[in-house]
Assembly symmetry: C2
Homo-oligomer: 407 residues x 2
């Protein structure tokens, strides 16, 4: 008997999470002899619990599905909903009743480590009750911190964004190169520095900006930082420094928390200050040069102008491979990337047990962080560069990119 497919998105958006959605839907539609409808959960498992579904397979009849492929964000909407640890909770039979009502045979969930937790729990519950629904996770995160995979879809485009934008910022920062200045760029990454490390790709030549790069993997020493900035200003009068939002003192305190005494605003709210803002004030105080901090905004995870062709293709393929794996009988798995070689870059797709992936984080290897934690090694460049290659031509209208959206 034919079984239907259902697919959902969860966690923070990326530039290519809809690429994976496109992959799942288009591949699902190719196997109509085994599958029926391709449904989409609106706002992930949380929305599904409230019966928010759509027949996403029907988009293929229009140009909309093709438009989904290059639209950033999460076309189906997302959620941050954690299923109960206790598989005896009443939410599980409730969910599986709904799966049965819709004749679901294949469940795909596109997300990061929290989303893999959902796949893990649902597949374990299915095993417990003897359900034959197959649950497959499709990786997604700009943080690139999932274990058991060489990298994750979303990272390559975010890395390309950071590299390009930091090069632009450095170009902007040096127009008054007859005056000393420090520009601090704060990049997303609470616990893993993969994205901040990508700022090294912005360098036009050895010794170019960003001269200093700090990741959360290494304890951040404020005095040593000031010395490094002073040193850097000698060779580079307009110094650009990139930091992860999550830099910390190695003893459990984020650097931004050092600014916790900054007081309250008119409304009595504690003023929240990022690590970049804190270091801006620190440099102003200790060195006295002109200094500016820039927090790269949500575009890090949703810029379509910096889509990496390699990243988008891999995101689509991850969705396609997920459908194939489920049809082959796999369940409780996440799609993984295996790098065969870097030059020329060559990738294989595989699967790994989702239970050993969920709720874990992969840090940047210690040996790739050099110069007392203030720089990144060339081994990282060899790793990251292939993931940022190529551009994607976007559909546009009236001079700006055209996005798909649920009507």
């Amino acid at each position: 008997m034919k079984k239907n497919i259902i697919v959902g998105q969860s966690g923070g958006p990326t530039a290519v999470i809809n690429g994976s959605l496109y992959g799942v839907v288009s591949e699902g539609l190719k196997h109509m002899e085994e599958t029926g409808h391709v449904y989409g959960m609106v706002n992930g498992i949380e929305g599904f619990l409230h019966d928010h579904c759509m027949d996403i397979g029907s988009l293929e009849a229009t140009n909309e599905l093709e438009l989904v492929r290059t639209t950033p964000g999460a076309y189906l909407g997302s959620c941050r909903y954690k299923l109960p640890e206790d598989l005896g909770d009443s939410v599980y039979p409730e969910l599986f009743k709904k799966f049965d009502d819709k004749n679901i045979g294949y469940f795909f969930y596109i997300g990061g480590n929290d989303s893999m937790d959902t796949v893990s729990k649902l597949s374990r519950y299915a095993d417990k009750i003897g359900s034959d629904i197959r649950f497959i996770g499709v990786p997604k995160t700009i943080d690139n911190d999932l274990v058991e995979t060489d990298h994750t879809p979303g990272y390559g485009s975010a890395a390309k964004y950071v590299a390009t934008v930091v090069r632009e910022i450095a170009t902007d920062a040096t127009v008054y190169d007859n005056k000393q200045s420090v520009t601090i760029v704060e990049v997303m990454g609470r616990h893993a520095g993969w994205l901040t490390a990508a700022s090294i790709l912005a360098r036009k030549f050895e010794g170019d900006n960003p001269v200093l790069i700090y990741l959360p993997e290494v304890a951040f020493n404020q005095d040593e930082f000031i010395e490094k900035v002073k040193e850097g200003l000698e060779s580079t009068p307009n110094l650009v420094v990139c930091i992860s939002e999550g830099i910390n003192d190695g003893k459990g305190t984020f650097i931004c928390e050092y600014a916790s005494d900054v007081g309250v605003d008119n409304f009595g709210h504690k003023m929240l200050t990022g690590s970049g803002k804190y270091l801006e004030n620190l440099v102003k105080e200790k060195i006295g040069v002109k200094v500016r901090s820039i927090e790269l905004n949500v575009c890090q995870r949703c810029s379509c102008a910096h889509l990496s062709r390699v990243d988008l293709d891999e995101a689509v393929n991850a969705g396609i491979y997920a459908v194939q794996a489920a049809l082959d009988g796999e369940t409780g798995k996440m799609i993984t990337f295996i790098r065969n070689k870097s030059v020329p870059y060559e990738l294989s797709y595989s699967t790994a047990d989702v239970n050993i992936i969920c709720n874990k984080e992969k840090p940047v290897p210690a040996e790739w962080i050099i110069n007392d934690g203030s720089d990144i090694s060339n081994a990282f460049i060899d790793y990251a560069r292939p993931l940022t290659q190529g551009y994607v031509e976007l559909p546009t209208k009236n001079g700006i990119p055209l996005f798909a959206y649920r009507k």
Copy 2:
């Protein structure tokens, strides 16, 4: 006798200021029968005073000049140097002595209204002493606030950046569309709202985000703003609001200054808060929904990924036209744009007296600001859209854009 050309850049960078530099240099080199060298002032008139010059014409022999065309920032470096009001000051004979030493006959200065002040003063001094050096200004500003011209080079690309990025931010903001939220985007523009107005181009349909748009041209009332946000949330649960950094109460106080009592940081520095951050706290206090503010950073003025083909072409043409005007005997002029029609878009180039341009600002017309100052009219769309058309293919290397820089 052959006379040399000198060209400089001044004020804040744009994505296409180097396009105008390319125009001046390439056109200058085409008229070698009348001109000799094409020099570049490094860091504008301030650098020239310290004899910082380069033979920028020599770049043509390499691929470098072509690369300059699409490089953001200011290849020659910039300055914010104001010449003395008193034409009797000793800096004037000093400068003209340096012009003579380099056999300068044609002086081009690419910049905004402050830079036009430099062109005005130098041309008036030349007139006073009977010098035949010709001084021509080439307009440049993302603010689009120069008078006597339909628009300015740099605006179209910045507007395209704002439109694209606000559309991306709106897409990102709506992934959790089952929860209410407000996203406030702060756009550059201290006195004129042209760039913030361009956020209207981000709307995918009537009533789409950004639902509210506030410019500095209209007095900002905080109570009315809160009412508009409440109203907006009813139809658009994930509301995006765009504001100019310079929104003010109409009585001379910037909205960000209302947050001036937020206290000092650890170092005793007054915490600077932007208007977006202030409104974030206001919405949190008065409405209590999830709210985030995003300050678009310097990429507004230096993003190469959002270059408008129309803008870049016009920037180059402005440089070319400047050289032709100078060779035709004009001086004390700025190149201006005259729009013949919007559909299809058709532009002519002309010149205007630089003395009536410098130190003036052109606001967004009052009739284009509607709904009690919370929205922009379609007439603005007709004005702005042609300026944002087309993309520019960038030279890239290793997956990111290649930029020219002085070695």
